[in-house]
């Protein structure tokens, strides 16, 4: 289906242009910039909802396609389109951006217009990543994404922000250079820059393995997977709340998305050959990182490590496919695992955003992220405590919240691959609950720990609005995940059929 008018372009460029407008509006009337930013974000979100309402559920084909030549001599096209895999992530992006704008309303007093502008531009670029169907266009958006985030951390970040930004930049940039080489190689092989053409490109096993490793370098850093995860805690700690939210809720998903859009369909045989590597890294993420999260003293670091552990479920869900496919006696579970990984991505978008916003609420009041500086927050902030406990439970995968759905699906699917995979994955039930609830115990419960806690004010209406929106999202997805499953079903089924057939 091609749209009557370019909805995707609108969702990409409206926030980018809106962001430039906000930036040029300057800080003379900060409230004007804030309102302008909010209006742009809300409009973008509403526009992106058209993608849902007009979405054709029963096809895996790309929808809302736009395809115009861009650099003709290299067959590079401005080619956009979405399927059931990218569409939910785009709506997640536009939804979270609104919340980030609202959350930064009062807190950001230093150059607020540029702050808002950075997030709007970031939003457009991220939507571009999710909707690009041309490899070069994808790469441009992919790298462009680094700039606003670099600025967000570098300008509005904490005291050690320079180390964090450089680490963040070099880590991710190093990974993407390998991806660029792989993309160029495939361009020479196929004479096309279209990602969909890459999907059908015949490649030998050695070629595939090299390309797979190149993609892995890019995506593993983004996800992030162990052992290339150490930039994330540093980036989170130094980033302002909004930056952490975007980082955790959206940017990490781009890595997971990359596996589905590039690695699996382009190099299915290499994926099959190296699935042990990814599964091993995923399980290390779930188990190893879970224990590391347990001993963190800094709330943001703890949630950052928790993010890595939760993202382990995503990659695990994607790559157990090959073990299940290799077992003739098991006839299902591949789709379940992939869908589970996708649900986990969307759910983690909500929950990690909420957790970082909760820490932000505390940080704005106390200017500390150290767990030991808190204690007994419930006494002075009962409504906030209710939200925090709710999101903590969602983070621990309580059924009825979205956090349960993806983990459950991946555990059920991995049982079909191997008992011990499911066993190791399910340890998150214990360890995940342990690090989350221990933090809640030390921060929220107990008697008032010190005078600073005694002076805390409960959340205001704006903060309540943000947290309530996320709470509703977490509950709805937890109680009724079927609509999301339906959106993705045709695309995931198509992908599974595609990877089941060797390319050699």
């Amino acid at each position: 289906m091609s749209a009557d008018w370019p909805i995707l372009s609108a969702v990409i460029w409206l926030p980018v242009l809106g962001g430039l407008l906000v930036a040029f509006s300057g800080d003379r009337a900060p409230n004007v910039s804030r309102w302008l930013a909010l209006v742009v974000a809300v409009l973008t979100f509403l526009l992106s909802l058209l993608l849902y309402t007009g979405f054709e559920m029963n096809t895996a084909a790309m929808q809302f396609q736009e395809n115009i030549p861009w650099i003709e001599s290299f067959q590079v096209n401005y080619h956009l389109g979405v399927d059931g895999i990218s569409m939910p992530l785009i709506i997640l992006t536009t939804f979270i951006t609104i919340l980030v704008i609202i959350a930064g309303w009062q807190v950001i007093q230093y150059k607020p217009s540029q702050y808002m502008a950075a997030f709007l531009i970031m939003e457009g670029v991220m939507v571009g990543v999710f909707s690009a169907l041309d490899a070069m266009l994808f790469y441009v958006f992919w790298e462009a994404m680094l700039i606003p985030m670099f600025l967000i951390i570098g300008v509005w970040g904490g005291p050690n922000r320079v180390y964090a930004t450089i680490k963040f930049f070099l880590y991710t940039f190093l990974g993407s250079v390998f991806m660029l080489v792989a993309l160029i190689y495939m361009y020479f092989q196929s004479g096309s820059m279209s990602i969909l053409d890459f999907h059908t490109l015949k490649l030998g096993l050695t070629e595939q393995i090299l390309i797979f490793l190149a993609f892995l370098a890019a995506f593993a850093v983004k996800v992030p997977m162990w052992p290339v995860h150490t930039w994330l805690p540093d980036a989170h700690v130094e980033a302002p709340t909004g930056g952490s939210v975007i980082l955790a809720a959206i940017m990490l998903k781009i890595g997971g998305y990359g596996f589905l859009r590039f690695s699996l369909p382009i190099t299915p045989d290499a994926s099959k050959e190296l699935d042990w590597l990814i599964i091993g890294m995923s399980l290390i993420a779930v188990v190893y990182i879970g224990f590391v999260a347990l001993v963190q003293q800094d709330m943001k670091k703890l949630i950052a490590y928790s993010s890595i552990a939760h993202m382990g479920f995503v990659t695990l869900g994607f790559f157990i496919a090959f073990i299940i496919l290799a077992k003739p006696e098991v006839d299902s579970g591949v789709i379940l695992g992939m869908q589970g990984g996708m649900v986990q991505m969307v759910s983690h978008g909500f929950i990690s955003a909420a957790m970082f916003l909760c820490v932000g609420v505390l940080y704005d009041r106390m200017h500390s992220r150290e767990i030991s500086d808190y204690g007994g927050v419930v006494n002075t902030m009962p409504w906030f405590a209710a939200f925090m406990v709710f999101f903590a439970m969602a983070n621990a995968g309580l059924p009825g919240t979205s956090g349960f759905v993806g983990e459950f699906m991946v555990i059920v699917a991995s049982f079909r691959a191997d008992f011990w995979l499911a066993f190791l994955a399910a340890t998150t039930l214990i360890v995940g609950a342990a690090y989350t609830l221990w933090m809640v115990k030390r921060v929220i419960f107990g008697d008032i720990a010190n005078d600073n806690v005694a002076a805390l004010q409960d959340i205001n209406k704006r903060e309540a609005l943000v947290l309530t929106s996320l709470a509703i999202a977490v509950l709805v997805l937890g109680l009724w995940p079927e609509p999301l499953i339906q959106i993705m079903d045709a695309s995931i089924a198509n992908l599974v059929n595609h990877i089941a057939v060797p390319k050699l």
Binding site: K167, V292, L294, V389, G400, V412, F415, L429, I430, D447
Partner: protein, 653 residues
């Protein structure tokens, strides 16, 4: 059918509505508003449950099994939210809503002067909703939802006094220990999903016999019976929720919560969810004798050894808590002996008399101004007549005094286990028989120390001791009635009639209750038969010893205690489970976490790999910079050396 569906929906959602209103609008509706709205919700729920019970049990309404909505359909696996209402469900919802209603009313008195009054009502109504979702589910997924939701509310309520360090430690411990159980449970569900491709009870149970012979390999080439693996995994979940050894450690600590919830959640309803689950899945358990043996041995071990600890406790609530652990062990043992009906029967009688005992303990605690040490009590019968009489009735029911409800249910369990032929049955039988003595001893030790003897040993208590208000005593009386009589009326239909026909599945080789039934004629006959058996005399002996040792000659107790000091210390430390878990699991996890963080993340990855490569780039740059000195004669000599080198190479070649 449609109007029944509406009834079930209202039945489940009424407490949820009450909870949401009391929780979100606590300031608007005030204290009275909160208790009225939640009592109304649970009251509606109870009346509808009674109606449902009437329809199903008396009028033989057909089994209701319908899905409400589709949770998700993925990869051929359908998951729904729906209700299954048969006689088992009808019994469970009636018990749950009745006890819950009593506890709601009681709370009005118990919590009258506490902070967080509205919050408390909101929680217990939320609990009632979750528990109803659990028992009314028609599939494993919703069962797990209810399972974890009751765990959440239990967490919130144990930590209700969030300022108390012990309370917030206990609630985290409870949640985590339950999560260990749920870890097994979710793997069990995953196994069912894999081999049955469904989570719907009816579909799974009807396909189960065909899978009885299947095996799966878990470790190397050794083959395990599929049913054994599934059932043991599911039962690990039950061990967490129903506090069976070694996952029992959270239940005694859960007494940090206010007393009404100890009665509702940690005695009458939530902790019996494991028993309910195993009984519900009896078509699976019947296919694995190994799993049944496992269940039987765990249950009997818990029943005896947890009862022993009850003897040395001095906190009134902890005595009752260990008693609950022990009684849950009896129920689990019944399940292991395939006497599911007896386990459920004991679940029901226990719900009434244990809720009664907890609420009576709460009444005593009110009278003692929150002093919970039974060594400070004594002679309370003079001050609190209704509490005294009802507590006596509850205690008699607990020790299985002939004619009381507990007598019928406990005797049925012991006899059924006696008939069991599976591995471990003899061991279990003797522990359960011996447990009767222990039960009588700890129950009446507490009873005599609290209600008899000379006045309260705490002199100050005399000034304020008085009977609790009617909102407290009326629920006691209302709970005392079924505690005494329900056994008499229910034994015939539940154990030997067709109350559970089509619900519970018992293989003919395991039909222990059938053996018991062969000698059963009527209640009188059952009582007179029981009075000739060992357990009855053990109960009487326990009662007599308690009377003599704790009331007549307290010096004996001290003598025994110093004589068997090692035993006392062992019991007082609860066999050291807490110390072990704290050192090995909690300490071990933190040790591993620190090790991985400091060595793995900080030293190896960040220190050597990341910053190391950054440093090596720096070092290389330094080296190269030395060459780029900027002096012309350096470059000149380099050129000359290069030319010489080239010449040399040409010549030599």
């Amino acid at each position: 059918m449609e109007d029944m569906k509406t009834i079930y929906l209202i039945l489940v959602l009424a407490p949820l509505a009450g909870s949401v209103i009391a929780g979100l609008f606590r300031n608007q509706i005030g204290k009275a508003g909160a208790h009225w709205v939640t009592i109304l919700g649970v009251g509606v729920s109870f009346l509808l449950s009674a109606y449902v019970f009437w329809q199903h049990v008396m009028n033989g309404a057909p089994v209701f099994n319908e899905n409400l909505y589709t949770w998700m359909v993925v990869d051929g696996l359908e998951m729904h939210v729906g209700f299954l209402v048969d006689n088992l469900t009808a019994m469970m919802i009636t018990v749950v809503t009745f006890v819950s209603l009593m506890v709601h009313i009681y709370t009005v008195g118990y919590m009258a002067h506490e902070d967080g009054y509205q919050r408390f009502f909101s929680y217990i109504s939320l609990f009632t909703f979750s528990m109803l979702m659990l028992v009314m589910s028609n599939n494993f997924l919703q069962l797990f939802f209810g399972w974890e939701a009751v765990g959440l509310v239990s967490y919130l309520l144990i930590g209700f006094y969030y300022k108390r360090e012990t309370a917030i430690f206990a609630n985290m411990k409870a949640f985590l220990v339950n999560r260990v159980g749920d870890f097994g449970f979710i793997l069990g569900i995953a196994a069912i999903a894999m081999y049955f491709n469904s989570l719907d009870y009816a579909q799974v149970f009807s396909a189960a016999p065909d899978k009885a012979g299947e095996t799966i390999s878990i470790w190397g080439d050794s083959q395990w019976s599929l049913m054994t693996v599934i059932c043991i995994l599911l039962f690990i979940g039950a061990m967490g929720k129903s506090a069976q050894m070694p996952l029992h450690v959270w239940l005694p600590d859960s007494m940090e919560g206010p007393t009404p919830i100890s009665a509702l959640i940690h005695a009458a309803t939530m902790v019996t969810a494991g028993i309910f689950m195993v009984a519900r899945t009896s078509p699976l358990f019947e296919l694995s004798e190994t799993a049944l043996s496992f269940v039987l041995i765990i249950g009997a071990t818990t029943a005896f050894f947890m009862g022993l600890i009850g003897i040395v406790q001095n906190d009134i609530k902890r005595v009752v808590a260990y008693s609950t652990l022990s009684q849950l062990g009896y129920m689990v043992a019944a399940l292991g002996a395939s006497a599911y009906a007896a386990g459920l029967f004991h679940l029901m009688t226990h719900a009434f008399f244990k809720a009664l005992l907890f609420l009576a303990a709460g009444s005593v605690i009110i009278g003692m101004h929150h002093n919970q040490d039974i060594r400070n009590m004594g002679g309370l019968r003079k001050y609190m007549k209704i509490t005294w009489i009802t507590a006596l009735l509850g205690s008699l029911a607990l020790i299985g005094f002939p004619g009381f409800s507990g007598f019928f249910s406990k005797d049925a369990i012991i006899e059924a286990v006696g008939y069991s032929q599976i591995t471990g049955a003899t061991y279990a039988h003797w522990l359960l028989v011996a447990g009767v003595f222990v039960t009588a001893l700890y129950s009446f030790r507490m009873y005599f120390l609290v209600f008899h003897g000379k006045g309260p040993r705490d002199e100050h208590a005399k000034d304020h001791l008085k009977e609790s208000p009617a909102v407290v005593t009326v629920p006691l009386i209302l709970l005392a009635i079924p505690s005494v009589f329900i056994g008499w009326f229910a034994i015939e239909p539940m154990l030997f009639g067709d109350f559970f026909k089509g619900v519970l599945h018992v293989a003919s080789a395991h039909d222990t209750l059938g053996e018991v039934g062969k000698t059963y004629h009527d209640q009188i006959g059952f009582i007179s038969h029981g009075m000739m058996m060992l357990p009855f005399w053990l109960a009487m002996a326990g009662l007599a010893v308690a009377w003599y040792v704790y009331l007549m000659k307290p010096s004996i107790a001290d003598g025994i205690r110093s004589r068997f000091d090692w035993l006392y210390r062992l019991l007082d430390r609860k066999y050291g489970f807490d110390e072990f878990n704290q050192a090995v699991f909690a300490g071990g996890s933190l040790f591993i976490g620190r090790l991985l963080w400091n060595v793995g993340d900080k030293t190896v990855i960040d220190g050597i790999a990341v910053n190391g490569s950054a440093r090596s780039v720096g070092v290389l740059a330094q080296a190269v910079r030395w060459v780029q000195s900027g002096y012309l004669y350096h470059y000149a000599i380099a050129m000359i050396l290069g030319l010489l080198g080239l010449l040399f190479w040409f010549v030599v070649r």
